[in-house]
């Protein structure tokens, strides 16, 4: 993209050739830009308000009693109560859901990143027979609808006696998380110059020592971003996780639906459970906030 292109196209568009270059026009433009009120800032503010409004409503409901939720329409809790949260934290069938979710999400994260690391290294450093086809085939798994896999997964894991275990869900989620992790890590690894590998070998490093001592620290942020996306997609997925679990490894988001069938809807507890599922995500985002933009910038999601 060259500068003259902008100038000519601009002048052509305005039909006033030359005037765009004048000192006056430049100054006028500069003063307009640096005005203290920037209506532009309204766009993100309005957008964020739109995002937060439904979340606020959920938080609001979680502090209300069921009587208040169904009988009175209030914008904030009139009699704030912690009963809904107390129900969740004192009933093992509720809080075990969180533990189950976290166990299989972490398992999945570890497995995905661990197997993706060597593969991504191979893709970023070497050409080998069928490499391009393999890479594309991996990515097609990201396009597979979970609905297609729900039933075959159930039969496959039944055959291995893995139904209702954390590892089953963790392995099933590898379907879309491993390709993703390979894709992200490959991007980060390609950014590390190859000379570093060669220098290390000349210095007498063995491959494992080089990989863990020198290479891993260089792509640490890439590992972080990959782990973040694995966490994200495993945490939000429900269809497969629900299909593969009965009670012992049931994720919290599946347990939540229980309140729907209970005699009379327990809206307060439902809202509290929902709020608690938002919190781990919020914490994780806070930690990786500086890397999100970079991870996306590689265009590898």
């Amino acid at each position: 993209m060259s500068v003259p292109t902008i100038a000519t196209s601009r002048a052509a568009a305005d039909g006033i050739p030359g005037s765009a270059h004048s000192e006056v026009a430049l100054k006028a433009r500069a003063s307009r830009r640096s005005g203290s009120f920037r209506p532009k800032a309204l766009i993100p503010i309005v957008y964020i308000l739109f995002l937060l409004l439904p979340i606020y409503w959920l938080v609001n409901m979680s502090f209300k009693t069921n009587v208040e939720i169904t009988n009175a329409f209030t914008l904030w809790p009139a009699n704030p109560t912690l009963r809904n949260y107390a129900v969740i934290f004192t009933d093992p069938s509720w809080y075990n859901g969180y533990i189950n979710s976290i166990i299989y999400v972490v398992l999945n994260m570890v497995i995905s990143v661990a197997v993706a690391l060597p593969a991504a290294y191979a893709f970023s450093r070497y050409r080998f027979l069928g490499d391009k086809h393999l890479f594309f085939w991996l990515l097609t798994n990201r396009m597979a609808p979970p609905a297609v896999f729900a039933l075959p997964f159930f039969q496959l894991y039944s055959a291995f006696g893995l139904i209702d275990t954390h590892i089953a869900v963790a392995l099933a989620h590898c379907l879309f998380n491993v390709p993703l992790a390979v894709w992200i890590l490959e991007g980060f690894m390609s950014g590390v110059p190859k000379e570093i590998d060669e220098t290390a070998y000349i210095d007498g490093y063995s491959f494992p020592r080089f990989f863990f001592k020198i290479f891993m620290p260089l792509i640490a942020s890439g590992v972080g971003v990959a782990a973040f996306f694995c966490f994200m997609f495993s945490w939000v997925e429900l269809l497969i996780a629900r299909t593969l679990t009965v009670t012992d490894a049931k994720p919290i988001s599946a347990i939540m639906t229980r309140t729907v069938s209970a005699s009379g809807m327990d809206w307060g507890v439902l809202a509290a459970a929902g709020v608690l599922t938002i919190i781990p995500g919020a914490i994780v985002i806070w930690f990786v906030r500086n890397y999100i933009a970079k991870g996306f910038a590689l265009g590898r999601v």
């Binding site: 196209s9 766009i43 979340i55 329409f73 039933l151 392995l171 995500g281 999601v301």
Partner: protein
């Protein structure tokens, strides 16, 4: 980067290959297996050939779900991509507000999908939800449980709420990677805001936009949990998208053959459309690059 030819690299790829083969190829083979057979239970199977496929491709139920899903994806792309670009352009470039914006905007992305559904199901209810209640107070007849149009609006607004941030984050990442020198040059030339967008920002965002469009298309075409929680596919069949229909068929009615045939056709449609999107946008990008060098 110059890559060396080394077939031993296959050993590095082997773990991934085995894992994905276990979690993708074996289940997919099961699907293929079912799609060409019929069963009356008791684990007895009969060869059915391509019967399920011919039946599926001629069935009105599949056509309707497919059209609904295509229309849904088209609307989603038409709203989320421009909106995402707009928000990304207006975002602050440095300072504490960047972190605040990023964290708040990424929040919906990390909410489990059925919780997203629950949030909107509650939010839209006319008795206890803020949105439904306000609509009724304003005298608008809004009821997503009974009115198909309202159900569609709710599901679309929910998806915009849920996923626009992904487009924003991608575009923002593309924007911050543009060197300051480009803007200074544009300023000296007195380029208009539109020219800066059209000739600097848009081309530089091309790659991330491609990813955004692809991801949003794929995910909106596979959508299941959120509309299922909010509308359950109703009222009637008005929000029954392909995934919802498929799960109904496979798990609800246990029609394995037709469900398997549908799975394969469904998967192939996604692959084909994604490939078309990818090629078209890649070529568009290349044409532009050629034109630029020609100038």
């Amino acid at each position: 980067m110059e890559k060396t030819w080394n077939n031993k690299a296959w050993f590095f790829v082997l773990p991934v290959l085995l894992l994905v083969a276990f979690s993708a190829v074996i289940p997919l083979m099961t699907v293929v297996n079912y799609s060409v057979q019929d069963t009356f239970g008791n684990n007895e199977f009969f060869w059915a050939g391509t019967d399920w496929f011919t039946e599926l491709l001629g069935s009105a139920r599949f056509h309707d779900a497919l059209i609904r899903n295509l229309v849904f994806s088209a609307i989603i792309l038409a709203i989320e991509v421009p909106l995402g670009i707009l928000v990304a352009l207006a975002m602050p470039k440095k300072g504490i507000w960047v972190s605040v914006c990023l964290v708040l905007m990424a929040l919906p992305l990390l909410i489990p999908w059925n919780v997203v559904g629950t949030i909107w199901q509650v939010f839209g209810r006319t008795d206890i939800g803020l949105l439904g209640y306000s609509m009724r107070a304003l005298g608008i007849d809004y009821n997503y449980v009974q009115d198909p149009i309202d159900a569609w609006v709710t599901v679309i607004v929910m998806d915009v709420w849920h996923w626009t941030s992904l487009v924003v984050l991608l575009c923002y990442a593309g924007l911050v990677s543009i060197p300051d020198a480009y803007y200074q040059a544009a300023k000296i030339d007195g380029a208009s805001r539109w020219a800066v967008f059209r000739y600097i920002q848009l081309p530089k965002m091309g790659r991330v936009l491609l990813i955004a469009v692809l991801l949003r298309f794929m995910d909106s075409f596979m959508i299941y949990t959120e509309p299922f929680v909010v509308t359950g596919g109703g009222p009637g069949n008005s929000t029954t998208f392909l995934s919802i229909d498929l799960v109904k068929m496979a798990v609800g009615q246990f029609d394995l053959g037709p469900a398997a045939a549908m799975s394969l056709v469904y998967f192939l449609i996604i692959l084909l459309l994604s490939w078309v999107f990818y090629t078209v946008m890649e070529n568009a990008g290349r044409d532009r690059a050629v034109k630029e060098t020609a100038e």
